[in-house]
């Protein structure tokens, strides 16, 4: 099962077209590609920053936008207080600045080509980014595959893409949204006022008409372990659970 990236991915220069503050710690950067590509929802790009002394810093960022004919991709980047690259994006990068990137990359954490059986998405914080690409792709193709998103955030204001997710849920009976809010009382009665646990994962699985055939989990390593273990305890096979953990 070889997927994507048969050729080597070449570096290209793109311009920042727009910057949006999404949550107190996450901004979206809309990048206009000079060499447009069609990605698969779930894939990432590598971004390369070069200092005047030649020092290079590279990081991988998941693509938040859905694959489309557009030559603009969206990255949603969380500002890590001790980070090297994310503070540059948050504090220095401006519209019209040029950024080098290459992609699309990654051949595992991918929205299935033929999505028919139910799909469970579990994310925390900026772990929502690749899942959002999947949800947007599903919506863009008008796919009716039953899909549930369990998204954990510290407060209501930290819920990435909150408005878009809430309106998608309103409009689409086959898309379920469970918000876990860990540090304040959630707004909606159906939301969950605690950190993720295996009971919560089982509850969200029960919202789907059948057991999910694909599970995608993205977040910190401890979060992903709890989510994946919850899915296993609910009776899912390890082979259907794909995880992506924040790197170093």
């Amino acid at each position: 099962m070889t997927e994507g990236n048969a050729r080597s991915a070449v570096w290209q220069t793109c311009a920042i077209a727009k910057i949006i503050q999404q949550t107190p710690s996450i901004k979206s950067f809309f990048l206009r590609l000079s060499e447009p590509f069609a990605h698969i929802a779930g894939q990432h790009v590598d971004v390369r920053l070069t200092a005047p002394d030649g020092y290079v810093a590279m990081r991988s960022y998941s693509i938040a936008s859905s694959p489309s004919a557009s030559n603009v991709i969206e990255l949603a980047i969380e500002r890590l207080p001790d980070g090297e690259v994310s503070p540059f994006f948050h504090d220095i990068a401006a519209v019209d600045d040029e950024i080098e990137l290459r992609g699309p990359l990654g051949g595992h954490f991918l929205w299935p080509e033929r999505a028919t059986a139910p799909i469970l998405l579990i994310g925390a914080g900026s772990g929502a980014v690749p899942l959002m690409a999947m949800i947007r792709q599903r919506h863009a193709l008008a796919q009716a595959v039953p899909t549930a998103l369990l998204l954990s955030s510290q407060t209501q204001r930290d819920v990435l893409f909150a408005d878009e997710l809430l309106s998608l849920e309103m409009a689409d009976p086959t898309f379920k949204l469970a918000l876990a809010i860990t540090r304040e009382t959630p707004k909606r009665a159906t939301d969950l006022a605690r950190r993720i646990d295996s009971v919560m994962v089982a509850e969200v699985i029960a919202w789907l008409p059948r057991m999910p055939a694909h599970v995608f989990v993205c977040g910190s390593n401890p979060f992903v372990n709890i989510a994946a273990d919850g899915a296993l305890m609910a009776g899912l096979d390890a082979a259907v659970i794909k995880t992506e953990r924040y790197g170093g």
């Binding site: 994507g4 070069t50 390890a238």
Partner: protein, 201 residues
């Protein structure tokens, strides 16, 4: 292309000659795994050496632990761009595994197999001559489950996805057969000093 306003941390400092291009230094030990973290009990653990489809030797946990142990202190480099210096490991070198099985070099290529279905390919030349081991301890302690415990492959001179976690066997193959990530867009060999991150880099 110089990025406007970026100066960077250049975290390598005095060790910059030990940090491959595009890598940055970390103090912690990030965990990156493509699926759930497997639970492998040492009572059930087995390690199998195969030549093609044929198993030539199987070790239990106690048999494997009776093999000669070797310590290694090495710098490690993850394709996601973090590098960590002076990591300390103890385990059984691939040389000692092959010697115990009475196997020399039936083919030039090896696939490492793991409890979670993961695999990674490494040429024999990169596993032999003391270059690689099956690590059982990290930093003086039994290898934590998150980092591949009870046992992982350690091939420190290649990108760290080659150091397959929860390893349960080595298999000699006729050709260099792509493992899990190698079949999913990552480089077939993975030398950090040549920045062999993705296919055809």
């Amino acid at each position: 292309m110089i990025t406007r306003g970026f100066t960077g941390r250049n975290s390598g400092g005095d060790h910059s000659d030990r940090i491959p291009p595009g890598q940055h230094l970390v103090e912690h030990f990030p965990v990156l795994t493509a699926g759930p973290t497997p639970r492998v009990e040492t009572a059930e653990w087995k390690f199998t050496l195969k030549i093609g489809p044929r198993a030539v030797r199987v070790w239990s946990w106690s048999e494997f632990n009776a093999l000669p142990k070797t310590k290694m202190t090495r710098d490690i480099h993850c394709v996601t761009t973090w590098s960590k210096l002076n990591t300390t490991w103890e385990g059984v070198t691939v040389d000692d595994i092959l010697a115990d099985a009475g196997v020399e070099c039936p083919t030039d290529f090896v696939l490492a197999h793991c409890y979670d279905g993961y695999s990674s390919n490494v040429p024999l030349a990169d596993l032999a001559s003391g270059r690689a081991m099956v690590a059982l301890n990290y930093d003086g302690q039994p290898l934590p489950r998150d980092h591949g415990g009870p046992a992982r492959l350690l091939v420190p001179h290649l990108y760290f996805w080659k150091s397959a976690k929860w390893v349960n066997g080595l298999q000699f193959t006729e050709r260099d057969e792509a493992g899990f990530w190698e079949a999913r867009g990552y480089h077939i060999y993975g030398d950090p000093w040549r920045e062999q991150r993705y296919t055809n880099d």
